[in-house]
């Protein structure tokens, strides 16, 4: 914010506009004001200078995923904020109750839609926990899940960073970041057939194996992604405009972050080294050598740095997984869980019935309840499922990580300048589909 303008001290300090200048810019007193000018001057004297209510969103281009902030500003300073979510509510949890477990995968794709693979994995693991088959998932399927999940995490962070920086004016970063993300999507499209809404996981494994040239192609893409990330870092990390907007802006303490229920990069940017993959290792994450990056300060810059480093760590995991991945099946060998092969479906009544019952009735999950949590793009992504012994969940509750982070947005923007709302909001990576469900 620029310093307040002061009038030259040689002149007596004017108290109203009318005393100072007329409409031609001449000083008052030099000539009488015209009646219309006098009226303007009177009105100007009554001009309100108190606080203003300002609406930001839900259709504001920088309020990703349609969030509305009702701000009370005093000049440029935010005095109060009312963050309103729910504009992207689709009733995901209710919808789940009318769908078979397998039919829910397309719905979870649309939770955090910038990293659908991680949602796929998280949901599949919750159902597998209920079925008690977590230990029976084929090793190869677990590795595939790790590979596609970590690639999705890279896409998630790239989306967050490039969108946030583009809103600060760095449009080049947006283009470069999206080019890197395009590499991820090309890989995931090769694997799943869809660019964004993959629906690639299945209860008990994944839908089908990786493509034959995946290994080679993936290594090539990793190198390209690394190059683009380095380019982005060179472009912004020593840029004064960028640093001014990021450093010391949108601070939250580790204590407050934990109180709000922060997880993921936003919590690690407060110096808390909590990562579900490390602290509660699931799948085959304990087979890999990777670090959990943390940063101090809990400000925009810390969140940026954590995400940049996490991308590198994810790529490291993918590289290791590509080396370690064993051959074998990609889904459990259980006719009550896995769909029969198409060859059986079209050529034998047994396969036909099994396929039919799988699709129409869904795979039957024994009655019970389970909470399963994984490290999503924004933090701990949890699914709490209550099963009633049918092919559909009785209740499917999702713990969306960014819901708790968005809850702290008010505190983070209080006292900041109006222009800071955009980078703060951008750096917490609120995803409407996930937050509003």
């Amino acid at each position: 914010m620029s310093a307040p303008t002061t009038l030259p001290s040689a002149r007596p300090v004017a108290h109203t506009i009318a005393e100072t200048y007329d409409h031609r810019g001449r000083q008052a007193g030099e000539m009488p004001l015209s009646p219309s000018m006098q009226q303007f001057a009177d009105e100007a004297e009554r001009l309100p200078t108190d606080e203003l209510i300002l609406n930001m969103g839900p259709s504001h281009p920088a309020m990703h995923g349609t969030v509305r902030c009702v701000l009370r500003v005093d000049g440029e300073t935010i005095k109060d904020a009312d963050v309103q979510i729910g504009y992207l509510h689709r009733g995901f949890e209710k919808e789940s109750e009318a769908a078979t477990y397998t039919q829910i995968f397309p719905y979870v794709d649309r939770l955090n839609y910038v990293s659908p693979m991680l949602n796929n994995v998280g949901f599949a693991m919750a159902v597998e926990k209920l079925l008690g088959i977590t230990a029976q998932i084929p090793e190869r399927a677990e590795y595939i899940r790790v590979i596609v999940g970590e690639l999705a995490r890279v896409a998630d962070h790239l989306t967050c960073l490039s969108a946030a920086i583009s809103e600060l004016g760095g449009l080049t970063v947006f283009f470069w970041g999206n080019r890197a993300r395009e590499h991820v999507w090309e890989l995931l499209e090769d694997v799943s057939g869809a660019r964004m809404t993959h629906s690639y996981c299945r209860i008990g494994g994944v839908a089908w194996d990786l493509t034959r040239d995946f290994d080679e192609k993936c290594r090539g893409k990793i190198a390209k992604i690394r190059g683009l990330v380095v380019d982005i870092r060179k472009l912004v990390e020593r840029n004064r405009i960028f640093l001014d907007r990021m450093e010391g802006v949108g601070c939250i303490s580790a204590h407050d972050a934990i109180s709000y229920g922060f997880t993921g990069p936003c919590l690690r940017a407060c110096g808390v080294a909590y990562d579900v993959r490390k602290d509660h290792p699931y799948s085959v994450y304990d087979h890999f050598d990777f670090d959990v990056p943390i940063a101090d300060g809990g400000d925009n810059l810390a969140r940026y740095l954590v995400r940049i480093e996490e991308m590198e760590q994810s790529l490291r995991i993918v590289e290791q997984a590509l080396v370690q991945i064993p051959p074998g099946a990609v889904i459990v060998d259980d006719p009550l869980i896995a769909l029969p092969a198409k060859r059986e479906v079209y050529n034998s009544i047994e396969g036909m019935i099994a396929h039919f019952k799988h699709i129409m009735d869904g795979l039957v999950v024994p009655a019970g309840e389970a909470y399963s949590f994984t490290e999503g793009g924004n933090g701990e992504l949890g699914f709490y499922i209550v099963a009633d012994g049918t092919g559909r969940p009785y209740k499917n509750r999702c713990r969306p990580p960014c819901f708790y982070i968005t809850a702290a947005l008010r505190q983070m923007i209080l006292g900041a300048n109006l222009a800071d709302v955009v980078p703060i909001f951008g750096s917490i990576n609120m995803i409407g589909g996930e937050c509003d469900r």
Binding site: L336, P340, E344, I349, E350, I353, R392
Partner: protein, 577 residues
């Protein structure tokens, strides 16, 4: 039947008759002065078809037997079979050929269980319970027998699920997933048999899908007693067939479609109409005749697709007649009246109600109120209240009599003639209405239903007076009346009827009424309010009162809990073959 079959347990052929409450004394002099009256039909002894198999639930005063099934000891009625006894414990022993309403054939060998001290596995449907018997239904030998039998059953089964009408409610599909779920080991060609063979008025046979359980053969022999179906040839060339020139066209033939565990027998009416899993089922009562069979109406959105029997031991057992199945065609969406009409013009409902009130008002207006044997007690009672307010003459009309037999079909084709007569009290019948209308005895007439087939004389007489018809579909009578109010059909109404036994039967709404359609009792309530009379209460209020009057828990729940009327989606309900 072979000599090894157990004796069919006998059961006294009697039915409990619940009499309707005595009709209230006629409140007006007009009613008492009615010259000739329609009398309620006599209380006929019309028992439900007797099932040959005893349910396992102990009956007070009857001897019982104690046995152990899978470690659980249970006391059951003497003479029942192990399969029924296990059902009491919540164990559904998988079976194809056993049906509680038919004699036992024990030819599918799917329900084999282990009985201790018995060297071989026994068919649980045929095994009568014995004192101290120890039964295992989940032992390794039983599971292996079940799996192996299913493998045999599937050996020649065609890969028809995508084009089979039974898919989604097929017992074979369900048992395969529950008890076999192994892939095929057979690599020889399947045996071909006749497909889509027309074997009767209502039925098409696909012999390839048939698993030879003989339920349909036994049904035709035992229930209608016509015996058209038989098994011919032997081994895996055995097929179900009819004798040349003797088609399956008895009055109960579609029941074989319901009891067929696979899609071998399909109904011509339902074939390829809709997939079963898209349907929702609403339990209700058949409106085809005075028997009032317990049925399920199967529908999707606002369209009905079929009527299927529900088990009601006191009324219809497991069965219903073919005639009753076609009653759903009355609910045809194309013929529905969705908006009120006054003098041929479509008007908003409140305008039509105001028009009715305006034309009925007047000190010396002589009004005829026509009660209906095809409408619910609720609407007939509402009309009774209105007729009292107007001092109207009462008539009870219905459909003409039709075919009847000893089993379920009643000659009286009105589902609620008893209830209508009870509501109307002493009333006149159709002939008198015609004479009096033709003789200009009345200034106005209100028809509770539009289904009456009135003569040309009567219909032409309606042109000269105020005629009001509460109708759910376009009929000749509705078209002849000056004012037509859109009423709900039995697919959309909550209400009750009284069947030939005097039992209270409940109608449950399957979908929300379209357009301006309202329950008849609600329409009459609006008319009374427009006339400046007291509030008669809604149809639901009347149903609640009837629930109290008959002490009927099911109806009480329907009137108080809206969720109780929610239909069941067939897709996720258990397959019912």
């Amino acid at each position: 039947m072979t000599s090894s079959d157990p004796p069919v347990p006998s059961r006294p052929r009697s039915a409990t008759i619940i009499l309707p409450p005595a009709p209230p004394p006629p409140p007006t002099a007009a009613r008492a002065a009615a010259s000739s009256t329609v009398k309620p039909p006599e209380n006929r002894d019309a028992p439900a078809p007797v099932a040959p198999n005893l349910a396992a639930t102990p009956v007070p005063g009857e001897p019982t037997v104690t046995l152990t099934i899978d470690g659980e000891t249970i006391e059951v009625r003497k003479g029942t079979n192990v399969l029924e006894a296990a059902k009491l414990l919540g164990r559904d022993i998988c079976h194809f050929c056993y049906h509680p309403g038919l004699t036992i054939a024990a030819n599918c060998r799917q329900c084999l269980v282990e009985v201790e001290k018995n060297p071989k596995l026994q068919p649980s449907c045929q095994q009568i319970v014995g004192e101290g018997m120890v039964v295992h239904t989940e032992s390794p030998a039983v599971l292996e027998a079940r799996r192996a039998m299913l493998e045999f059953t599937l050996k020649n089964h065609p890969i028809d699920c995508p084009i089979c009408d039974k898919a989604g409610e097929c017992t074979l599909q369900r048992h395969y997933m529950d008890h076999n779920h192994h892939l095929t080991r057979v690599d020889v060609a399947k045996i071909r048999k006749p497909k889509h063979k027309d074997i009767g008025r209502e039925i098409v046979l696909d012999a390839e899908r048939c698993i030879l359980c003989s339920r349909c053969v036994r049904f035709c022999e035992e229930i209608p007693g016509t015996g058209e179906l038989a098994m011919t040839f032997r081994g895996d060339h055995e097929i179900l067939d009819i004798a040349e020139g003797h088609p399956l066209d008895n009055a109960y033939s579609i029941n074989v479609v319901d009891i067929c565990p696979v899609g071998a027998l399909t109904s011509k009416d339902f074939r390829f109409a809709i997939r079963a899993w898209e349907l929702k089922a609403t339990p209700t009562t058949c409106q085809g005749c005075a028997t009032g069979c317990a049925v399920e109406l199967h529908h999707k959105h606002e369209n009905a697709y079929r009527v299927m029997p529900r088990h009601d031991p006191a009324v219809n057992g497991h069965w219903m007649c073919d005639e009753g199945r076609y009653t759903y065609k009355e609910l045809d969406a194309d013929a529905r009246i969705r908006h009120a009409r006054v003098d041929g013009q479509q008007v908003p409902l409140d305008h039509a109600i105001a028009a009715v009130a305006k034309r009925l008002q007047g000190r010396n207006k002589k009004v005829a109120a026509v009660f209906s044997g095809t409408s619910t007690n609720e609407s007939n009672r509402a009309l009774d209240d209105l007729a009292t307010m107007l001092g109207a003459e009462r008539f009870v009309l219905g459909r003409p009599p039709g075919k009847t037999d000893e089993l379920l079909r009643d000659a009286d084709k009105n589902a609620n003639m008893r209830g209508a007569i009870a509501a109307a009290g002493a009333a006149k019948h159709e002939g008198e209405l015609g004479l009096e209308l033709a003789g200009r005895a009345y200034d106005a007439v209100i028809f509770l239903d539009g289904t009456f087939e009135l003569s040309e004389v009567v219909r032409s007489a309606l042109g000269a007076i105020t005629s009001v018809c509460l109708s759910d579909r376009v009929t000749a009578l509705a078209q002849a009346c000056a004012i037509v109010l859109p009423a709900t059909s039995w697919g959309e109404s909550l209400g009750t009827t009284i069947n030939r036994q005097g039992r209270l039967r409940v109608l449950q709404p399957a979908w929300r009424p379209e357009g301006d359609r309202r329950d008849r009792a609600d329409l009459i309530r609006e008319i009374a309010l427009a006339l400046g009379e007291r509030d008669l209460g809604s149809g639901r209020d009347r149903a609640r009162a009837i629930a109290e009057e008959f002490d009927h828990d099911g109806l009480r729940q329907l009137t108080t809990t809206p969720a109780a009327t929610r239909p069941t989606l067939l897709r996720f309900s258990h397959s019912r073959g």
